[in-house]
């Protein structure tokens, strides 16, 4: 399963690669990383239908995660990708807005990779 991770913090890549080391080695998950909303849109355009799941931070300079979500919901064809939003702790307002825009799930920061792994495995 191809997963696109979108976050302006570049160290997120190291976290995912280490956390899902076994799954990556086993070919269960494949991760791509974009460091801004704009970059993510470009990736999605260039790799049509590849990413099944998008994991995006909300708080990013330039295009925010919410705007990315809005655009993904408008532009990407069926079947639509699953979109999970990564939110700061207690950020109710953003969660509500993301829900209205059609987010599938939410993850709080700091990321709990154990529960994330369970969620993702359930989707496979």
């Amino acid at each position: 399963m191809k997963i696109l991770v979108v976050d302006d913090e570049q160290d997120i890549k190291a976290l995912f690669l280490q956390s899902f080391r076994r799954e990556i080695r086993a070919g269960v998950f494949e991760f791509s990383f974009s460091y801004s909303g704009e970059e993510a849109l470009t990736y999605l355009k260039d790799h049509d239908h590849e990413a099944v799941l998008i994991l995006s931070d909300i708080n990013m300079p330039g295009m925010s995660g919410l705007e990315l979500l809005r655009r993904v919901r408008i532009t990407t064809p069926t079947p639509p990708p699953i979109v999970m939003m990564i939110t700061a702790y207690g950020d109710k307002e953003n969660v509500e807005q993301a829900m209205r825009l059609g987010a599938d799930d939410f993850l709080n920061k700091p990321l709990d990779f154990k529960s994330l792994k369970e969620k993702l495995t359930a989707l496979v």
Binding site: L15, Q18, S19, N59, M63, E93, N94
Partner: protein, 654 residues
């Protein structure tokens, strides 16, 4: 005879000028004005207006040469003025009549009218004071009384009013002085005034001034026997056929002399000008005497007849009487003046004594008043001082509150900025624990995957670095926050401007994001990698960055709100560079920009475009002081309303 010859011409020329100038108010004859004034005249109730209208009418008819009407209206104006004690009206009415009488050769009448008018000018600042004296000159000059005539011209020159009238109105007096010397063949003095008149010519284009000045210059040249020069000047003076006739007469060039004298005579007869007739006929008598006695005799008769009308014995006698009267009056005046002076001295002494007592009283009172005033002043001063101290304290408080306000804006940003690295610290440390577990398991296995073990070690090592990095990142933010809130040490430290800019850019961005969920903007930091560290007060410079970056984000956010249709990409960019011992920091936004009015006031304390409660209006003013006064740098703004704003800070380094 010779004297007469010169005199006639100059007087003629002079009258001609005066006639054209309308003497006083140059009003050329205009039938429409005359009709309109005549119709209005019976309707005018107010007396001074009526007088003025009558004088205007008189002047109009003077220009037309209708003597009866000139005198009729002037007389009427004079009698009304007399009734209502309107001095200016009387002066102008009498002057008008005197002028007409001088023109027509009735010099005694003219002098009497002038004499009546002159005392009225006392205390009235009117140019008629000068014109009347000029008329006196004409009347005495006509009688060949050059010295007396010149005396009047000198009086005009030294009259207090002379300096107050328009410069252009002064030239007739200079002309009279020049002429009076020229008549007496005192050519150097005449030349002196001719030179003054030449200066007038450079400034003013006045046909009469021009003609008369060239006439005078021609006369002077002719008397010096510089005939070519004389002809040159006479020819510049277009009407001066008389002067040309004189030159040829003196050179005994009969044909030319006769030709020009005849021309003069013809034009004088046309104008019914007795002086011109006299002048022209005189030369013709002389020139024809040698070649044609019959003709000569004819012109002699004309000459004699004309001369009689001008210079008959009665008239001369009358003039002499007037002159004696004037002399008498003058003596009386001098006597009165002497008595007046001695009385004045007595009064002055008495005045001095009185003044002394008044002064003593005044100084005493003044001293008392001063004492009271000093007490008041001291009280006011101490009040002022107290107010100043209060103001200073308030200012310090305001600066502090501005600092707190900007810190308040930061809080949310700080939380976000600390949370992020702490998340990484947590995640990487948890991962490391898992990694160690994996490593242990892998090492226990009989067939070890060396590459995998290596990878695990690499990750472990990398994680330690990441933990360290994010830990430091969090602590530097805390440190920065503390530094910002702490009172400035005022001590300059070697500071990495790139780092400072980066910190505040992030703090500001996340602060605004936290405060306003709808806010979003792109930001970029373009740094000069080789930027040297410089000595600045880090807390102070941080405040500058924070203020400017906050403003930049505010501006793009405002524009975003206005621009709901999309297509606008709010961007704040901070860049650093170093050129020639200067560090240049630019903070640019593509926000709302500033109008010229706002730009001019932006550094003034308490000036803000933000809604009440959202800005102290001190941010930029404090920033400006920090950069310019605190660090010897410069602070510039480039902006275009609706498009962008760029703050440019230049800091010197050694």
């Amino acid at each position: 005879m010779k004297i007469y010859k010169n005199l006639y011409w100059t007087i003629l020329a002079y009258f001609f000028i005066l006639a054209i100038k309308g003497y006083g108010q140059p009003l050329p004859y205009d039938q429409r004005i005359v009709d309109s004034l005549s119709q209005k005249l019976p309707l005018i109730k107010e007396d001074t207006t009526k007088v003025k209208t009558l004088i205007w009418l008189s002047q109009m008819y003077l220009s037309k040469g209708n003597g009866n009407l000139v005198l009729k209206y002037a007389n009427k104006a004079d009698s009304i003025s007399k009734k209502i004690n309107y001095n200016i009206g009387r002066i102008e009415a009498l002057g008008q009549m005197a002028f007409y009488h001088a023109m027509t050769g009735d010099w005694p009448q003219s002098i009497m009218e002038v004499n009546e008018a002159i005392p009225l000018t006392k205390g009235e600042n009117t140019r008629w004071s000068i014109y009347l004296l000029n008329l006196k000159f004409i009347n005495y000059g006509a009688k060949n009384d050059f010295k007396v005539a010149r005396m009047w011209a000198l009086r005009a020159l030294n009259h207090p009013t002379f300096q107050t009238i328009d410069e252009i109105d002064r030239w007739p007096t200079y002309m009279q002085l020049g002429l009076s010397y020229e008549w007496e063949n005192r050519l150097d003095s005449a030349q002196y005034y001719a030179d003054i008149l030449k200066e007038f010519l450079k400034k003013y284009h006045d046909a009469n001034l021009k003609g008369d000045t060239y006439g005078l210059l021609g006369n002077i040249a002719r008397k010096k026997k510089n005939y070519d020069e004389a002809l040159y000047y006479y020819r510049l003076d277009e009407q001066n056929t008389m002067g040309i006739a004189w030159v040829y007469d003196e050179q005994n060039k009969a044909d030319s002399a006769i030709y020009y004298a005849q021309k003069t005579l013809n034009s004088a007869q046309e104008r019914n000008d007795p002086r011109g007739i006299l002048e022209g006929s005189q030369i013709l008598v002389r020139q024809y005497a040698k070649i044609d006695p019959v003709q000569s005799n004819k012109y002699l008769q004309l000459y004699t007849a004309t001369k009689d009308t001008l210079f008959n014995a009665d008239k001369m006698k009358q003039l002499e009487e007037i002159r004696l009267n004037e002399q008498q009056q003058r003596y009386e005046y001098i006597g009165q003046e002497k008595a007046f002076r001695s009385r004045m001295i007595q009064y002055a002494l008495l005045g001095l004594v009185v003044l002394f007592f008044i002064s003593a009283l005044f100084f005493y009172r003044n001293n008392e008043v001063k004492k009271a005033a000093n007490t008041e002043l001291e009280k006011a001063y101490s009040e002022l001082n107290a107010t100043y101290e209060t103001l200073k304290a308030t200012q310090t408080q305001l600066i502090e509150s501005e600092k707190l306000a900007s810190l308040g804006e930061l809080t949310a940003g700080i939380a976000h900025e600390i949370q992020n690295p702490l998340n990484f610290v947590n995640n990487f440390s948890e991962l490391s624990v898992a990694l160690v577990k994996d490593l242990k398991e892998e090492l226990k296995r009989p067939e070890k995957d060396e590459a995998y073990i290596g990878e695990l070690f690499d990750d472990l090592s990398q994680n330690q670095e990441k933990i360290n990095h994010h830990g430091k990142r969090a602590s530097s933010i805390v440190k920065g926050m503390l530094e910002h809130s702490r009172a400035s040490t005022g001590v300059k430290e070697l500071t990495d401007i790139n780092k400072l800019a980066d910190e505040y850019l992030r703090l500001s961005y996340h602060g605004l994001r936290a405060k306003d969920k709808n806010f979003n903007a792109d930001y970029e930091l373009i740094i000069d990698e080789n930027l040297p560290k410089i000595e600045v007060i880090p807390q102070d410079m941080g405040r500058v960055f924070l203020n400017l970056i906050n403003n930049a984000f505010y501006a793009v956010n405002e524009k975003s709100k206005q621009n709901t249709e999309g297509g606008y990409k709010p961007t704040v960019s901070v860049s650093t560079q170093h050129i020639d011992n200067q560090i240049i920091i630019k903070i640019k936004d593509n926000g709302t920009g500033m109008s010229e009015r706002v730009r001019a006031k932006v550094f003034q304390p308490f000036f803000t475009t933000k809604p009440t409660g959202q800005g102290t209006g001190l941010g930029l003013s404090i920033s400006y002081d920090i950069v310019t006064k605190g660090h010897g740098g410069t602070f510039d703004i480039k902006t275009k309303e609706g498009e962008f704003t760029e703050f440019i800070i230049q800091l010197p380094y050694l």
